[in-house]
Symmetry: C2
Subunit: 347 residues, 2 copies
DNA sequence: GACGGGACTTATAACGTTTTAAATGAAGTA
DNA sequence: TACTTCATTTAAAACGTTATAAGTCCCGTC
C-alpha cells in the first residue's frame, strides 16, 4: 500500500552480517538441513548440491558457529594444555605450543592454556576439565611413574597425550624423548674425553624421566668402570644460584667430578660459573655435555657439547597423536619415543 | 499396575550426569527461568529463592554450559593471545601467559593461544578473530607506530590491549614498559663508569619501542656529550651467532664501542662472546647494561649490570586492563606505563 | 496402475542458556 | 467489589547447529 520499501523477509532477519546455515539456505534455495549435510559432505546429498553449497559458503565466508556446534554435538573442538612454570628448559612452553599449534592448524581445534598455579601435579585442573567437558583432549608433561593425572584420565577414558612416560600397565599415548639414550651418550662422551668421574644433574626424583636419565648414566659408568657421583642436594628445578653454589662448594672438596651431564642449558651455565668460582676452566679441568633445547646457548658457549632435543617437533607429534587418539585410534599405537640424533647432535 | 519401578520422569531424563539449569529447577521446584535469574542474582528474584538456588547449585556442582551461554549471549568468554615466535626475550611468552592467567583466574574467561606462523604482523589472525567473533578480547605485542592490527581493532571497536604503544590519535589500552627510561638509565650507567663510546643494540626499526629506546639512548649520550654508535647490520631479532660475529668484527676495527646497552639477555651474552673472541674482557675493556626478564642470566654473569622488566606482572596488568575494557571502561584510562625500578634494579 | 525402492531432500526436535513478554497472587486503593 | 500496583515467578521463543524421522519424486517392476 504505502511506500514502505520493506525487503522481502526470508524468514528471520539476519541480525548482524554473520552468515549462518540459514543464509546459505536462503541463497541456494535448499533447506538448512540440506546445507548442513552438504557441508559435511554427506553421501546422500547429490554431488551437484554439495558443490553449489560449498561454493556459496566459500563466497560469503561462512564459518560454522563453534558454540552451536559444541552445544549440539557435545564436542568442544578444544585442546587443553597444562603449562608448568619451570624455567629450566629454555623455551619449553613456547616451543611445545608452537609445535602443537602447527599440528592443530587446519583443524577446528583451538588451543587453550591452563597454567598450573597451585601444586606440582595439577590433578584438580584435570578433574575439572574432565568433569565439565571443557575440552576434547588434554596435553601435559613432567609425568610421574604413577601419575595421578594419567590415572584419572585413564579411568574416565578421556583422550590425552603426555610428554613423558608412566608405568601404568594400561597403555596411553605419549611422546617422549629417549632420555636413557641421552644420558648414556652424554656420559660416554665425557668418558671418551678422558674424564674419570662424571656427575649427572637430575630432575626431581619423582619424575619418570629422572629414572631414565639415571639408568643411562649408570649404564655408561658401569660399562667404563669409572667412578661417578650424583648430587642429592640439587636438581634441575633448583634456582640457578643454588646449582652454582653447590658446584662451587663441591669443586673445593676432594675427589671433585671432572665431567658433567646436564639435563638443560641453564644448569650447564650454572655449572660453568660455579666451577670458575674455583678457578676451574671448562675444557681444561672438566667437560660438560648438556641437553640443548634452544638455539641460544650453544652458540654462546661452544665448548659445551650438546645433544639436541627438538621441542617444537615434540609438540607437533603430540598434536598429531592426540588428534589420532580423539579420532578413536588405539592408545598402544600412539606411543612415540624420539631418539637423540647422536650423529647430527652438533647441528 | 505392574511392577515397573519407573521413577517419576520430571520432564526429560538427564542423559548423562551433567547438571543443568533443569536439574536445579527440578530439585528446587522453580522454573528454569527463575533458576537462571537467581544464579545471575537478578534483583526481582526473592532473596530466599536466590539463596536456595545457589545452595543447590553448589551442592550438585553446577557449572553453566559455556557453549549454551556463548550461543545465546554472543559472548565467548574467551581471550585470545597472539604469540610471536621470537626467542630473544627469555621466557617472554610463558611469563606473559602466566601473568594473564593470573588475572583471568576466577573469571569465566579462557585463554586461547594463536601463534603467528605467517607474516610478522598477524593481521590475518586478528581479522579472523574479529570477523568471526572468536573471542571477546585480544592481546598482542610488538606494536608498530601505526600497527595495522591496532587500526583494524579500533575500526571495529573490538576490545584489546597491546604490549607496546602506537601513534594513533585514538587512544587504546596498552601496558608498556618505559623503554626510554631503561635506555636512558642504562646508557648513563655506562657513561658513569667511564665509558666514552656507548653502543645500543636495538630491536627492528619498525617497532614503536625501538624509537623509545633510541630516544633514551640519544638523550643520555647528548647530555654527556660522548661519542656513540648504533649498529645497522644487526638487531635484537637476529640469530645469536650473527650478533656475536658482528661484535667480534667490530671489536677488531678502530674506535670500537666500549659500552653496550642491550635490550635482552641473549644479546648481552652474544656481545660478551663476540668481544672475548677478540680478547676483550667484560668489566675491563668494556661494560654492559642489559634488560633482564628472567632470573637466569644475571646469576650466571654477575658482571652484566641489569635493569629488570617484570613480564609476569606485565601480563597480569594486561589481563586486568583488558577485562576492564571489555566491561566498557574508557580506553584512555587504561594505559599503563611500567617504570623500570631503577633503585631496586639489582634485585 | 499400484507398489517397492532408490536417490534426494526436508520438517521437526533437540542441545542449555538467556531474553521477552506475560502470568500469578497478594496487597493496597478507590 | 473492582481496579491498580507491586513483587515474584513463569512460559515461550530464540541463538545456530545436528540427529531423527519423514517426506518427496521418479523409476522400474509386477
Amino acid at each position: 500500500m504505502a511506500d514502505t520499501p520493506e525487503p522481502a523477509p526470508s524468514r528471520a532477519r539476519p541480525k548482524s552480517g554473520k552468515p549462518t546455515l540459514r543464509t546459505i539456505a536462503d541463497l541456494t534455495g535448499f533447506a538448512v538441513t540440506t546445507v548442513s549435510r552438504a557441508l559435511g559432505n554427506a553421501p546422500q546429498i547429490s554431488v551437484e548440491t554439495r558443490r553449489r553449497v560449498h561454493e556459496v559458503a566459500a563466497e560469503i565466508g561462512y564459518l560454522p558457529d563453534r558454540a552451536a556446534q559444541r552445544l549440539k554435538t557435545g564436542r568442544t573442538n578444544v585442546i587443553s594444555v597444562l603449562l608448568d612454570p619451570h624455567e629450566e628448559i629454555l623455551g619449553y612452553g613456547i616451543s611445545l605450543m608452537h609445535g602443537l599449534a602447527k599440528a592443530l592448524k587446519d583443524t577446528p581445534y583451538h588451543l587453550i592454556v591452563t597454567p598450573n598455579f597451585i601444586n606440582d601435579s595439577n590433578v584438580d585442573a584435570v578433574r575439572h576439565i574432565v568433569r565439565n567437558g571443557m575440552a576434547d583432549g588434554l596435553i601435559f608433561s613432567r609425568t610421574e611413574p604413577f601419575d595421578p593425572r594419567v590415572r584419572l584420565l585413564l579411568e574416565n577414558g578421556f583422550p590425552f597425550v603426555t610428554h613423558g612416560r608412566t608405568e601404568f600397565s594400561t597403555p596411553h599415548p605419549y611422546v617422549d624423548y629417549d632420555n636413557f639414550a641421552f644420558a648414556y651418550e652424554a656420559t660416554r662422551r665425557l668418558i671418551s674425553r678422558g674424564r674419570r668421574k662424571p656427575m649427572i644433574i637430575l630432575p626431581p626424583k619423582r619424575m619418570t624421566f629422572t629414572q631414565h636419565l639415571l639408568h643411562g648414566f649408570m649404564t655408561a659408568v658401569r660399562e667404563a668402570g669409572v667412578a661417578y657421583e650424583i648430587p642429592d642436594e640439587i636438581d634441575l628445578d633448583c634456582p640457578v644460584e643454588q646449582i652454582r653454589d653447590y658446584m662451587s662448594r663441591r669443586a673445593g672438596k676432594p675427589d671433585a667430578p671432572d665431567g658433567f651431564a646436564c639435563g638443560g642449558e641453564v644448569s650447564a651455565l650454572a655449572t660453568i660459573t660455579g666451577m670458575s668460582d674455583h678457578g676451574l676452566t671448562l675444557g681444561i679441568e672438566y667437560d660438560i655435555v648438556a641437553k640443548r633445547t634452544s638455539k641460544l646457548l650453544s652458540q654462546i658457549q661452544p665448548k659445551v657439547e650438546t645433544i639436541y632435543e627438538d621441542l617444537t617437533d615434540t609438540g607437533e607429534q603430540m598434536g598429531r597423536v592426540l588428534l589420532a587418539r580423539i579420532a578413536g585410534e588405539d592408545a598402544a599405537g600412539l606411543q612415540v619415543l624420539l631418539k637423540p640424533q647422536i650423529g647430527f647432535a652438533e647441528v
